[in-house]
């Protein structure tokens, strides 16, 4: 930091990162592992209110000092900004956030856990193949800056992707699912592997959407997660908010009172929970929708400064604490407040409806229309699930959909970075055949 200042910067921030990643891929009983070590420094500098960034791989002092010098030079050519390095704040959660068991998980144990789960799933009837990838990342992150900030945090996370293919000799169907967080529980993993296999088997007898369908939609937690991540989570980022379909709705009622959504950066077991964000700002809980009213956007220091606001602590560097990039705005853990009722209870209430179990969506924050394809759905008739649907498309008018949410369940499930229960919407969704 002193080197950067001595090279001509007025202010600077030094971001240091050391990461160890274990990636294990299991396919048909064989395991392949990759161990990745990454270290580096990212430097941001201000010179007469102009801004520059440089990064270097490795922690060799000679190289880092050269990067500091280069950053100071780049800053003089760079844009004039209102950004300044973050001031020290008290974290809202005590250190450490990461689970100690995850931090100590070794490669052989991780491999064995994965082989056990996939090995069990393949023994189920009609299961043709299983594969899984487990990625365990451990990060040590440090940020110091000329405003006196000095923060260090150690983080660990695990993502497990399951892929199961079922076959009845005539038809093949595959399902994918994901398990994420900063805690590990092998029984949860095993349950997920088995549930993924069961879902794949159910799809073997699935039908198609045969005509345009406008029915009440019951969304499983998985489907809610995908829809939120593809639309709302993007639309509420401050840097693109003004071009999003929510741009004129801040402070307005966008949904019924039963719907509240928060971004929780300090949630225990959350995939992207941490003490500080990529700017060094303390993570927090930010209310996005409160009892149906759109309250806040998510921001980092750069965008917050432009808008004369305080940052919400949503700065992310790259995919996962990457020192090679400047921060961008991203949600941490989206949490939909649970209500009353469960998926089974909701199904029992309808003469005719569609249960969307899992979907694929094309990301969209500009228009209020979200389009995608059905991975798995079920027809609801006389309060019961009848046939499984494995093919069809859908269009959701998000503005209408949100206003017509009539039930939010209590059956919460975490799907990667979204924790959500089931949701029922009376209208706003059109299903169509492909």
């Amino acid at each position: 930091m002193r080197h950067t200042i001595n090279s001509g910067a007025d202010a600077c921030e030094i971001y240091i990162r050391e990461s160890e990643t274990m990636e294990i891929n299991c396919r048909q009983g064989e395991a392949k592992s990759l161990q990745r070590t990454e270290k580096g420094v990212g430097i941001r500098a201000l010179a007469r209110r102009s801004y520059g960034f440089a990064s270097i791989d490795g922690l060799s002092p000679q190289r880092v000092h050269r990067a500091c010098e280069r950053c100071a030079v780049t800053a003089k050519l760079g844009p004039r900004v209102q950004w300044t390095p973050a001031r020290a704040t008290t974290p809202q959660s005590p250190q450490p956030l990461s689970n100690e068991r995850l931090s100590q998980l070794t490669l052989p144990k991780a491999r064995d856990a994965l082989l056990t789960c996939t090995g069990h799933a393949i023994t189920l009837p009609q299961i043709e193949s299983t594969s899984a990838t487990m990625i365990i990342s451990r990060h040590s992150i440090g940020i110091v800056n000329s405003e006196g900030l000095e923060v260090v945090q150690k983080l660990a996370s695990m993502d497990v992707f399951f892929h199961v293919t079922a076959s009845n000799g005539i038809v093949r169907e595959s399902v994918q699912d994901v398990y994420s967080g900063s805690e590990v529980d092998q029984s949860d993993l095993l349950t997920l592997a088995v549930n993924t296999a069961v879902r794949a088997r159910k799809l073997l007898n699935s039908k198609k959407i045969s005509r345009l369908t406008h029915l009440p939609i019951i969304l499983s937690p998985d489907a809610v997660a995908r829809i939120l991540r593809s639309s709302l989570a993007l639309a509420v980022c401050l840097d693109i908010f003004k071009d999003s379909f929510l741009s004129r709705l801040l402070g307005k009622q966008v949904a019924p009172e039963c719907l509240s959504l928060i971004d929780d950066g300090i949630m225990a077991g959350g995939r992207f929970s941490s003490s500080f964000d990529g700017d060094g700002v303390a993570r927090q809980r930010t209310v996005i929708i409160e009892n149906g009213t759109l309250r806040n956007c998510l921001s980092d220091r750069m965008e917050a400064s432009k808008n004369k606001q305080a940052s919400t602590g949503n700065a992310r560097r790259g995919k996962d604490w990457d020192h090679r990039t400047t921060p961008h705005i991203s949600h941490t853990n989206l949490v939909l407040r649970p209500g009353q009722g469960s998926l089974d209870e909701f199904v029992g209430e309808y003469q005719r409806a569609i249960l969307l179990q899992d979907v694929n969506c094309t990301p969209n924050w500009e228009s209020a229309r979200l389009t995608g394809s059905i991975v798995q759905a079920f027809k609801v008739e006389s309060g019961e699930l009848t046939s499984c649907v494995g093919s069809g498309g859908f269009v959701i008018d998000l503005t209408k959909f949100l206003k017509n949410v009539i039930r939010v369940g209590r059956d919460v499930r975490q799907v990667f970075d979204v924790r959500s229960p089931s949701v029922v919407a009376s209208s706003g969704t059109t299903l169509f055949p492909i």
């Binding site: 592992s33 990454e38 050519l77 071009d243 969209n364 500009e366 991975v375």
Partner: protein
């Protein structure tokens, strides 16, 4: 920024010695070390003013060792000799932790060892060009862009200059340049509360002339016009239509529905092979798709892949029939296929996987006007576009910026925010005519969490039926 040279950085002789040592005494072992050393410059302009200037150095190593049918892999930042030793030893240690497949053949399908240094060929070295000069070009790049409703323009220029060196225990000893440029241009228009954003990627491998040329300025001007047209688009559209796809949209179809289908390392490869082996019909007989890394200056133009295999032109689909599957060493060994030079990685952190290079659909003989005039009722879909394939469901989904209704052979009403969905088989077998003008576009393709730059090419495509929602 120029690189540090240090007597402690690993050299070529040291690298070869390390991989040989790992394999020494183990006739059944294979060891490989890949070293990458890059300088990255990124310039972001918003509305003609610099928003961010960034310079980075990225260097590190990737090692893998193979024995008894299993791989051990490791990577680390830095290029010092001790780091190389550590990363190779870690990869070798990974073998004992992987499960052994005792019945498995141990003979890898490996590239012929080559000793060579490939130099980049371009008019002016990127590292020689001052940053100020690049900024000056970018500031003028949107001068010709005109749009009544324009609310914002964003240009993100990224250049990567450096080299990749590959050594293996068979004697592979090559160094190739890893130079790549990309310019992402996005424009936003707003009218009556409706926002439209369009974006395009321009770039390739070579000097600054890849982006600093008249074609780039024309492309940016066209993008601005498109953003203006889209701001005027209104209404909803839904149904099954006969469709003309422009080259950008056609390129996405080729990339997703054919290119990825021919990657032999995808989990569903065995499914597809058993359903539709080489020689069987995969598409209309009009369709011939080629993957050609020997074309110059495109994003996928390489001399050697990231395992040292010579990069060659290959026909993936010939007159509708599957002809060649793309491979890397692992996939070629598993499936007993020839090496095709399609092993690529994002950077040193990752192992190679099968990727496309420059993939294109060979053109036909229809003009654009003839194709539109031939449609009495349908849609014209135009890019920019991106897409997604679901092989499990056999569904192809793409998002493109623009659709125009075709009535009586003429373009009529325009719509924006288009999603088109089709069954892969229906789309490919339903191709009834191809245009004569082949155009290439650069794409960023994400697969197994790795992003690489490649080029896709297509002429106009006329498809029998596709579901469109706007």
């Amino acid at each position: 920024m120029g690189r540090l040279s240090s007597p402690y950085e690993i050299n070529r002789k040291g690298s070869l010695s390390l991989v040989s040592d790992i394999a020494h005494g183990h006739a059944d072992r294979f060891a490989e070390l890949r070293i990458q050393d890059d300088a990255i410059t990124s310039i972001t302009l918003v509305d003609g003013e610099i928003e961010e200037l960034a310079e980075s150095e990225s260097n590190g190593m990737f090692a893998r060792v193979y024995a008894n049918g299993v791989w051990g892999l490791a990577s680390a930042t830095g290029t010092k000799l001790q780091i190389a030793r550590d990363v190779i030893n870690k990869a070798a240690a990974g073998l004992s932790r992987s499960s052994a497949n005792r019945g498995r053949e141990n003979i890898l399908n490996l590239p012929v060892p080559v000793t060579t240094v490939v130099e980049g060929q371009h008019e002016r070295s990127l590292s020689e060009m001052p940053l100020e000069e690049k900024v000056a070009f970018l500031k003028t790049a949107t001068d010709q862009a005109s749009n009544r409703f324009l609310t914002g323009t964003r240009l993100v220029y990224t250049e990567r200059t450096g080299s990749v060196s590959i050594f293996n225990s068979q004697g592979m000893n090559i160094r190739t340049p890893s130079t790549n440029l990309s310019l992402i241009v996005s424009m936003t228009s707003r009218r009556q509360g409706k926002s439209e954003e369009v974006a395009a990627v321009i770039g390739g491998r070579g000097g600054f002339d890849i982006v600093d040329n008249e074609e780039t300025r024309e492309r940016i001007a066209e993008l601005a016009e498109k953003a203006e047209r889209l701001a005027l688009a209104r209404g909803q559209l839904r149904g099954k239509f006969r469709a003309v796809l422009d080259p950008e949209v056609g390129g996405v179809l080729v990339h997703e529905a054919i290119g990825h289908a021919c990657e032999s390392d995808l989990p569903s490869y065995e499914q597809r092979l058993s359903k539709r082996p080489v020689g069987k019909a995969h598409a209309s007989k009009l369709v011939t798709v080629v993957d050609d890394p020997t074309l110059r200056s495109l994003a996928g133009s390489i001399d050697y892949d990231d395992e040292g295999t010579v990069a060659t032109r290959k026909t993936l689909v010939e007159k509708g029939k599957l002809s060649t599957f793309m491979t890397d060493v692992d996939a070629a060994t598993r499936h007993q296929l020839p090496l095709t030079g399609n092993a690529r990685t994002e950077d040193y952190r990752f192992g190679p996987i099968v990727r496309m290079t420059n993939t294109f659909l060979e053109p036909g003989d229809w003009s654009h006007e003839e194709m539109i005039e031939s449609v009495s009722s349908g849609v014209y879909l135009a890019g920019p576009a991106f897409g997604r394939i679901d092989y499990n469901k056999g569904i192809f989904e793409l998002k493109c910026s623009e659709a125009s209704l075709i009535r009586g052979g003429r373009l009529t009403r325009m719509f924006s925010h288009i999603t088109a969905i089709a069954r892969i088989d229906d789309a490919l077998k339903g191709i009834v005519a191809l245009g004569k003008d082949l155009k290439f576009n650069q794409q960023h393709c994400r697969k197994f969490a790795q992003v690489v730059d490649l080029a896709v090419g297509s002429p106009d495509i006329l498809i029998r039926k596709i579901v469109v929602s706007a």
